[in-house]
Each structure stands twice: as C-alpha cells, then as structure tokens.
C-alpha cells in the first residue's frame, strides 16, 4: 500500500524513455539541473527549451499525467514558504519568479529520471563512478528494506490502534514512541539475520 502511495512502481514499467541507458539519463539530468540552477533568469530561451524537453520526455515516458501533477503539487512546504516570503517583498518579484521556475524545472527533471530508472541501475552507475562500496551497500540495503519496514510500521500501527481504547495525548505519544522504538529493535534484529544470510551466500 505504501509503495503505491509513493508511486514508486512506475520505474518498473516500459517505454522508450525507460529503455535509455541509466548513465545517459542521469548525466543529462545532472547537466540540466546544474545549468538551470546556475543560469541567470534572463536566459529565457534556456528555461523554455528545458521545459519543452521535459514535457516531451514526460509524454514519451507514458507516466500518468495525474501522477506527475500530484508530485509537482506536493512541493515541500518549504518552496511555498520561500516563494510567499519573496512575493511580499517589493523588489523581490524577479527573484521570486527565478526561484519558482528553477525549482519546478529541477523537480520535474528528478521526478522523470527517478520514475523511469530502476534504483538498481542508478546504483550500478554510482558504482561505475567509484562511489565508496560501503555507501552503495547501505543504499541498496536501505532501498530493499524501506518498503518492508514501512509495511511493518503500518502493521504495528494497526495492531496498536485495535488494542488501545483511551487516547490521552501523553499516553498517545508514549505509545507511538514505543512503536518507533520497537521498529528499531526489529530492524536491528533483521540486520543480524540478513548478515547471517549474506555470509551463508558467500559475502566476504
């Protein structure tokens, strides 16, 4: 359930964009983001070009439009906050526009790349550019068990909700913290089992 809410399954579907090599997509995305962030706002042509390219890619990738819109609209409250602060400044109109345009373009780029590239391929690219192996192992394990632990947390939440009747605030926080603490204990016990399983399969 949690996985579908995050829309993560889209990276597994198929389209011309999905079939492009991951290194190419990541490289182009990085160039777009760096250039967009560094570009002065007068470079209208650049921003429009990037926007057109992104719209074209979105069309080719066959990602549901509604999904993309929702992802864009759930900008962090941070973006909205800063945009609001800048909008109320007398001289800040240009800067406000620049910040808004730049963050939306970068956000759309990352949304497109991450939803058309499986995470394992991203990790392979990271490995080929010599990111430390320990960091890659950690990233791979985190990605693998992220949804497992989120489901576990959801199960514990449901179990707790079906067993507690009083809902005093202090008590409630205490119960929630117990759930989180239990989640940590289960995660560390699972880590022990994973280590044993990894060793049994010949991990050095």
């Amino acid at each position: 359930m949690s996985a579908s809410w995050l829309g993560h399954q889209h990276s597994q579907s198929d389209s011309p964009v999905h079939r492009l090599p991951a290194a190419l997509k990541l490289g182009v995305a990085l160039v777009i983001i760096v250039a967009t962030v560094l570009a002065p706002i007068q470079w209208r042509a650049w921003f429009i070009g990037v926007a057109l390219l992104l719209v074209l890619t979105a069309g080719l990738s066959r990602l549901p439009l509604f999904f993309l819109f929702r992802r864009l609209l759930v900008l962090s409250p941070f973006v909205l906050g800063v945009v609001l602060v800048n909008a109320f400044q007398p001289a800040g109109r240009d800067r406000w526009l620049a910040v808004a345009v730049k963050s939306v373009l970068c956000l759309l780029t990352v949304i497109l790349v991450s939803n058309t590239t499986p995470f394992s391929q991203i990790l392979r690219v990271l490995k080929s550019i010599r990111v430390p192996a320990l960091l890659i192992t950690t990233l791979a394990l985190m990605h693998r068990y992220l949804f497992v632990l989120m489901d576990e947390s959801e199960r514990m939440r449901r179990a707790r909700a079906s067993r507690t009747f009083t809902r005093g605030r202090r008590f409630h926080w205490n119960t929630l913290a117990t759930v989180v603490g239990q989640l940590f204990i289960r995660a560390s016990e699972r880590a022990e089992r994973i280590y044993d399983a990894m060793c049994a399969r010949g991990w050095k």
Binding site: R71, V82, V99, F184, A187
Partner: protein
C-alpha cells in the same frame, strides 16, 4: 529543512558539496575501521528504519502533527560516524526517489542534517551524559542534544539560504530559528521517548552498540569538530559578526543599513525579548534563554519519565 533545487546558488552548492563529501568520506572510513562486519547491514536497516520512523506522525495541538528527524537519536544509538552514513543514505534516497530536497542542494542538506545534526547532537549528548549518569541522565541528554542540534541545523540552513541571496538573513534567521526552537522541543521529546522505549525493551542492544559504535579516541571528534566549525564559519559567521554590538558600525561602513531592517514581522512576537527591536538580535537572545529553559525541561522530563529505582548504570 530539506532545501530544494533552485534555492541555493552555485558557490554555496559547490562549497557545501566539498565540505559534505569530505565529511561523508571521513565517516565512511571511520565506519569501515570501527564497525565489525556483523554491523554493516545494520547501517542500511537503520536508514530504512529512520525513513519509516519519519512517516509516523505525532499529533500536536490543533490538528497538526510532527515527526521524528532522528539524526541525534541515531548518533546516540549507533555512534556519530554510523549516523552520518545512515542519515546521508536517507537524504540521498529522499532526494532521488521522493524528490524531497534538491540534487544540487544535496551537499547543503547533507551538511545540515547528516553531519552538523549528528555530530553536534552526539557531542552534546556525550557531554551531558558525562555529567548525569544513569538512564535518567541519558534521557535528559538525548532530549537536550536533539533540541540543540535541530536549532543549529536550522540556523545553518538559514545561513546557506542567505549566502545564496534567496532569502535575506534578517528574515531567514529569525524565522528558521524560532520555528525550529518549537520543532526541536517535539524532536527532543520524541527522541527521548523512543530511546527509552528501546532501552526498556532491549537494554542489551544499547549497551552492545555503545561498546562497538562509539569513537574510542578523541581524534575522530576533533576532526568532525573542525569540519563543522569550518562549515559554520562559512555559512553563519559572516552574518553573525554583525550581531547587535557591532551592527550599526558595520552596516554604516558597508552602506547596507537600509537592507538590514527586518522585512517581515517576527513570526511569534510574544517570543521576542522586549526592548530589542531587531529581530535577529532578539532571536539570538531568545535562543540563549531558550536553551537554558529546554535544558531544565529535559532534566524535569528525565525525572518524570524514569523512576528513581531504575537508575542502573549502563
């Protein structure tokens, strides 16, 4: 506190990326050296745990809710180097998969939330633990350390935004610091409750990890300290040196006195110290007073949460 792309400019992104890469590289080396192979999968699982734990919403008054951020909690449970690696992993996944925080802003986010938050939190935690022994002391320490680390990370974030020219310091600093002084109270309370929950269910887990994950020598902390100081010196000090004392002279000297007036009314006017009209100075004074109040609150909370007879030393 996740900074999106477009909010920090090229120079800030470059400087934060270099400092963060150095910090994470150092943390990875420390982890490889100190952590037994048995614990390596725990890093990934702890990162997954942190992500899942951040999804648990704690109800706050008025229908709003908050959640754990957890850098300090992980640092207290696993040690500072492991915490830097774990939180960095969480930030990378949040950035690439869930678009929470920008790609170019990753360096800034890693510095604020992974390095600064974990290391400062850990140092404060150890110092308070040194004074107050027993589980009660640990609960107090973790609550206070989480609060301090949250507020400092927010101030550093404000400094980066101001240095990029996105938001003026006179708006960013009071807003970020004041809001996070309240958020930090929740963070401290949640961290302490979770720590206590782990301790009550599996005290052996905490003892075992305290022996393996913690830095054995002072050198590690000193190097982290240098890195954090460097970052704070770059992001915050240029603004901080114009705090109340020398403010007027500095403002006149550089001719920007008209720029320094607060552009927004303070978010919580009753929190300002009367007599100081300047939002930045008032926030700084309020912050100093706030940290004292929070420490006393953390002490009281430790007494309230942990009854006297369970003062077993760990």
């Amino acid at each position: 506190m996740h900074i999106p792309d477009g909010f920090i400019d090229g120079k800030t992104a470059a400087v934060t990326a270099v400092i963060s890469a150095a910090g994470v590289g150092f943390a990875l080396r420390q982890v490889r050296r100190e952590l037994p192979p048995r614990r390596v999968p725990l890093l990934g699982l702890a990162a997954a745990f942190l992500f899942a734990a951040q999804m648990v919403n704690f109800p706050v008054a008025g229908g709003t809710s908050g959640h754990l951020v957890g850098g300090t909690l992980v640092a207290a449970l696993l040690g500072p180097s492991a915490a830097v690696v774990v939180v960095t992993t969480v930030l990378i996944v949040q950035c690439f998969l869930f678009q929470d925080g920008g790609v170019l802003a990753l360096g800034a986010n890693v510095f604020n939330m992974a390095i600064l938050n974990s290391v400062i939190g850990y140092v404060i935690y150890r110092v308070v633990c040194h004074w107050l022994t027993g589980i009660r002391g640990r609960v107090t320490a973790i609550a206070f350390a989480s609060w301090c680390a949250t507020v400092l990370a927010a101030i550093c974030c404000a400094g980066q935004l101001a240095w990029s020219g996105t938001i003026p310091w006179s708006v960013a600093f009071p807003a970020m610091a004041t809001v996070h002084m309240f958020i930090g109270v929740g963070e401290g309370l949640i961290s302490a409750l979770v720590f206590l929950a782990v301790y009550r269910a599996r005290p052996d887990l905490i003892t075992e990890m305290a022996q393996t994950g913690q830095p054995q020598r002072l050198g590690e902390l000193v190097r982290y300290g240098l890195l954090v100081t460097l970052g704070v010196a770059v992001f915050v000090a240029p603004f901080a040196c114009s705090w109340p004392d020398g403010l007027d002279s500095v403002a006149d000297k550089f001719g920007f006195s008209h720029k320094m007036s607060p552009l927004l009314p303070a978010p919580a006017p009753n929190y300002l110290v009367p007599g100081i009209h300047w939002a930045v100075g008032a926030t700084a004074v309020a912050g100093a007073a706030g940290s004292l109040i929070v420490f006393v609150l953390a002490l009281l909370m430790g007494r309230w949460l942990v009854p006297k007879q369970t003062k077993a030393d760990i």
